[in-house]
Symmetry: C2
């Protein structure tokens, strides 16, 4: 594996590749270490990353199909970690016909997060999580669109288990004979309800058990802190660093009705421009193809008589296109015969399942994508649907786990990896053109941080959507809580408020003719009936979209930071305050970038409770200064979402444009919170190509002297400036005494009204 070569210096310096003596493993009753020669080895892979190899690992694991290389240099920039954060001597390992089992230590006070993009569960402590990809993610227990065998601890470390198997993680909720106490106080009371019978019995000693099917060995990566966020950073840098969107990717996304013709698409797109509704990416849902379940990947010339002309017309209005597809290949597709030998041995909806782990499978599949899509000119992205699975359904539609693929992968491994392999495949044409992209995908997995795709869902519970916002950062994933039909303007506004703080702000009207601000109800939308009050709704939604547009420079910095330091652009509060137990259950607030705390409201909620961690905060809307370390009750009108800014930080807000072009210059109002704010660094580049990766990027630092602002521009980007500052605004030049929460005390301009 190439990282070993690259890290030879480490190995020499640290005298690694050592064999751990057998005594490392205590043999539990019935547990026998019988893997090849009982060997286990520990290697330091990079600063603060240990690989513990146990037995003989499988070939097809996430590291085998890396999307990016280990960011050794960035890892070196993190705090040096001399010793493993968990005691390696306490790791136990056993193999059997079923696969292998690893037991890792866990302290009684630890809380564990991660394991993928669950939208139902948050704190994983004392639970079992089965990592199985699912199209029905709003469930407890580990199934999600993107299960990831990586967890992080409030004790300040992370563990990545390199497997594409449906591994089961028991997080402190098992009771191994050798760990559990010998005495047990009897229950004096006979239970008279099952609730009482089955109540959890707390254990003094805990451990984390990982049950990995089929594999006769496993690589466990242990990632140091010292803090939880550092461990996450290491995971993301180990994965290859975080993905950076093209600038337009941070604009608004509108996906039109599935059966829209070219004319219908153009008409609605034009009307967005006329109404001044911001939109950068226009999504074409299934209707562009002649067949879609399974897919032909061929334009339907009834609906789109001139695809190339259509793409140009959309481009002329400033829209990038994002094409829906799934990979199951219809017998009428031109590639059907060619790709058949490079497909799995089970069909889905009678279509072939291309094996993207084979070079030929990728190549043949991409040939058709080139013909239909990429040859038409510059595209924004793709939406890769249906690549997940149905673990609990009695009527699953995807291929069985027992499938075999020509690459050697079986169906279980393929289900775990299909999303990642499909993303990689569809990324190739963009990379070949030196272009970024910003895609959508319904399944992802481990080490996905560098993949420029956002996970989305058919599920729709708003609370779950917000929980996804908090959960995404634990696992190197991005989450797109899209807006579809809604039950009320309030629900519409509150859902839009969540999506505009997400990696991809999506309105997905795939089954509605009209945008939801013109008609929320599906039937009426398709009857072309405008709802009463649509003018007010349009104005409201436009204002929220403009808030998103004003945040693009701030978000772009957060994503560049994701790439360079591994810091997730959106993340749960516990990641920044791991020593504050009050954050452990906060799954309905999240941090965006370095200093914004966002707490979405939900329809029907007159007010909500917001936990502000210790420190001083400013209400983004009222500028009220308030003390954290407490819960506050908050109420905001429909055009506002509760946002709090950390004291001593700088937030640049751009004059909102309708869409991003190659030459867009962001006109900034720089808001300065507190007296001694840390500088804020903007990233300046062409916004579309991958030249920034080879240094063609500048850093524009916003500095506040205490009385005035200044800009420092450093770097090798030679194109036209992206940013101008037209206004500095010090929210609190001389901090007033902290006020208790009360009536809002007025607000400053969020962004300047369009001139």
């Amino acid at each position: 594996m190439n990282q070993i070569t690259r890290l030879a210096a480490y190995f020499l310096f640290l005298n690694l590749g050592i064999f751990v003596p057998r005594s490392l493993f205590s043999e539990g009753i019935g547990e026998i270490i019988k893997s090849a020669g009982n060997n286990a080895s520990v290697e330091i892979i990079a600063n603060g990353i240990w690989r513990v190899r146990l037995g003989k690992p499988e070939e097809f694991t996430p590291t085998h199909f890396r999307s990016g290389s280990i960011q050794t240099q960035s890892l070196e920039a993190l705090a040096p970690a001399a010793a493993s954060p968990i005691n390696l001597e306490k790791i136990r390992f056993a193999v059997s016909a079923r696969g292998c089992v690893v037991t890792l230590p866990m302290n009684s006070g630890e809380h564990i997060y991660g394991l993928g993009l669950s939208t139902r569960s948050f704190d994983k402590t004392n639970t079992r999580q089965k990592l199985i990809p699912s199209d029905n993610p709003e469930m407890e227990g580990g199934v999600s669109h993107a299960p990831v065998p990586f967890y992080v601890s409030t004790d300040g470390y992370g563990v990545f288990v390199d497997t594409a198997r449906y591994a089961t993680f028991y997080i402190g909720d098992t009771s191994p004979l050798i760990d559990a106490p010998e005495t047990n106080v009897p229950e004096a009371q006979i239970a008279n309800s099952t609730d009482v019978l089955y109540k959890a019995r707390t254990l003094a000693n805990r451990s984390i058990l990982v049950d990995i099917p089929a594999a006769q060995g496993i690589d466990i990566y242990i990632l140091a802190g010292p803090q939880m966020l550092d461990a996450v950073r290491r995971y993301n840098l180990f994965s290859g660093g975080g993905a950076v969107p093209p600038l337009y990717g941070l604009g608004m996304v509108y996906r039109g009705k599935g059966d829209f013709t070219a004319q219908e698409s153009l008409r609605l797109a034009r009307s967005l421009r006329e109404t001044g509704i911001p939109c950068d990416l226009w999504g074409l849902e299934p209707g562009w193809q002649t067949a879609t379940y399974p897919c032909s990947f061929v334009w339907d010339t009834n609906r789109f008589p001139d695809p190339s002309g259509f793409v140009k017309q959309m481009a002329n209005m400033g829209f990038r296109l994002s094409f829906w597809e799934h990979c199951f290949t219809h017998s009428i597709s031109p590639i059907y015969d060619d790709i058949k030998p490079f497909s799995g041995n089970f069909r889905v909806w009678n279509g072939l399942v291309p094996d993207f782990a084979t070079t030929n499978g990728r190549k043949i599949f991409l040939n058709q994508q080139e013909k239909s899509l990429f040859s038409l000119g510059v595209l924004g992205g793709v939406k890769l649907d249906e690549c997940d699975n149905q673990p609990w359904s009695p009527t699953p539609w995807s291929f069985p786990e027992a499938s075999r693929f020509p690459s050697g992968l079986d169906g279980e491994q393929m289900h775990s990896l299909l999303g990642v392999l499909y993303q990689q495949t569809m990324l190739e044409p963009f990379t070949r053109r030196n272009l970024r992209t910003w895609g959508l995908v319904r399944n992802s997995h481990a080490l996905a941080s560098p993949l420029p795709y956002v996970v989305y869902s058919d599920s729709y519970d708003h609370h779950c959507y917000v929980r996804g916002m908090a959960n995404q950062g634990f696992s190197g994933l991005l989450w797109g809580p899209e807006v579809r039909d809604t039950g009320s303007v309030e629900d519409l506004a509150r859902r839009v408020q969540t999506t505009i703080f997400s990696p991809q702000a999506i309105i997905n009207a795939w089954y509605m003719k009209l945008p939801p601000w013109l008609q929320m109800n599906m039937e009426k939308s398709n009857a072309g009936e405008l709802m009463p009050g649509h003018e007010e709704a349009t104005a409201l939604i436009k204002k929220l979209f403009e808030l998103r547009m004003s945040l693009i420079p701030y978000l772009y910095s957060a994503f560049n930071d994701y790439r360079l330091t591994g810091t997730p652009p959106m993340r749960a509060l516990v990641m920044d305050w791991p020593n504050d137990p009050m954050t452990y259950a906060v799954d309905d607030e999240f941090m965006v970038g370095p200093s914004m705390l966002v707490a979405p409201m939900f329809a029907g909620q007159g007010k909500r409770s917001v936990y502000l961690p210790a420190g001083t905060w400013y209400d983004f809307w009222s500028n009220e200064r308030m003390q954290g370390g407490r819960k506050i009750e908050v109420s905001k009108p429909l055009e506002r979402i509760p946002i709090y800014v950390k004291e001593d930080s700088i937030i640049p807000l751009a004059y909102p444009v309708q869409h991003i072009t190659k030459t867009t210059v962001f006109d900034l109002t720089v808001k300065v919170y507190g007296l001694k704010p840390a500088p804020f660094v903007l990233f300046e580049d062409d916004g579309e190509s991958n030249d920034y990766l080879s240094g063609k990027q500048s850093r524009v630092s916003l500095l506040w002297s205490g009385t005035s602002g200044q800009i420092e521009r450093r770097g090798d980007y030679t194109g036209p400036a992206r940013y101008t500052v037209s206004q500095w605004e010090n929210i609190q030049e001389s901090p007033s005494p902290l006020r208790p929460l009360g009536q809002t005390t007025g607000s400053t301009t969020l962004y300047k009204e369009p001139r």
Copy 2:
């Protein structure tokens, strides 16, 4: 394996043990037969049973832990089957690191049933079933208290897959590349809803895929028909023949409140006798032990100062006792230290999990059971709780699948087999005493037909309970739809009507002081508050219990038939009418014995639809004669459950006694339906010991000449007669023309009123 020796005659005669040529297996894309030497063999195990051995099967399978021996003689009595009912050439097999996969042929018109005691799903055609034991069985998809890797087809054959793994069965809902058609008509219409997108695509060629984890080989048993019921019979005879209850086991069961003291138990038991409410088995729930989660298996002398005296007092009133327990062993239990080396390496509720697959584990466990329970005298049975699993729960309480047991079983195998092994263990003391028993258990599995235990559940949906009645017969299982608290007297009566037609008729008042006919509401019951109308409710319930008591001779014959011919005493309509597609979805009616069709009603249902298969039927209550092959609308008052009797059959009804004793003589009214009824055979024996197995049983045939009845007694039972006939009643001496369904036309005496 001993059956091979025993069946040597067969092998010689039929020249078996043949090796099947490699061409038997078509290699699908990516499928490689690489199991030891590519060998596969086919052996005829008994008349109409083929064993196909593929690869190298695991050691610990259901056949390894048989509860009974193959009933070769009874199998020979079935129709001879010369050729395998399915084409062996069409079986495909592959092994991989994940385990092994078998593909079996399936015709387009076939319907498949079985795979265990699901209470949610019935017809398994076009579904995926994952066979995982669960404490939450009211779910689709294969989880149940008793998953069984055996299915039967309306085409008249069965397939048993000998595995204790969590196998997944895909019943005609996969699309293997080599089987599926090459062309696929494109969908002209773009779907605008997920329902349309995901609608099932019918396949011309179907197959059944069995995905077996971990195993590198598998034994598949193919069981011939010619009819579905014959295949089920073969399965039950292969399992060892059906269980026969002690006569008292068919009486009513009442389980008292969990924390009842001896005095409280005696007081309530006495009041049942005083009210004349029939009851044979009295259940002691957790309170008899000093600790129960986990269990001590030691009497709590606070609640029961004199266990032996208590047992005697109950026996004096004619009650047998049934003791609740689960096997997880508390540290205060006297056997704790002894059993620890024979326990799994994970605890449950801090208790040890005894390994019943070890001789010592069984022995040490039974030592304590002998001391506490069996030494006290004659017991009726045990209730073995909590031996299932929590496959989907994020907070499971049982041991992990990754557990190891000293016997060599892993946690997955143990979860499948724990119920069976526990049943076998607790059966030993009865067998040693030459006594029958009639137990309860919450988990069972394959080949359980000879085990005298009835599966019960914490779940409580009445429709699911009735579906369990229909499903039990497919898989060699018995189901006890117990009655607990209810929402209304109607609900109470309707639920009681279901339980009195089940293998064990149970009132389980484990969290209620008063019987539900005195107070249905839990809180009020525990406050000792009688409900208004309890006198009427008591009379109603007593009447229903008496119906059960009157049916004991009929049921006893059905169970003896279960043992001798493998015919399930309760079974779905499709099993008797596999060629009538109208029966394929009937999951709320079931056959009891040879000729009674029972269609329970549900609370809130003024009337229900009942499907009567082709033939002539009599309404049990009104004696109305009606033509089948159609659905009828039925309404019955609370003291009656819709029951229909096939023409030309005989039903013996006993004068209801309060409980069964060693000397009980059933005073019969013999009801004769039609002009030429088949004889009905009663089984006469001591009702309690296993002497009937060595021939100490007589057959009492009830014969109808056309004008009068006669009794023929044959056999070697030498005890006092069990049956006297005091009345013959020919329901329809001269059949009137069939009447359309209308008002009931009056009723005859069901059973004689108590004198």
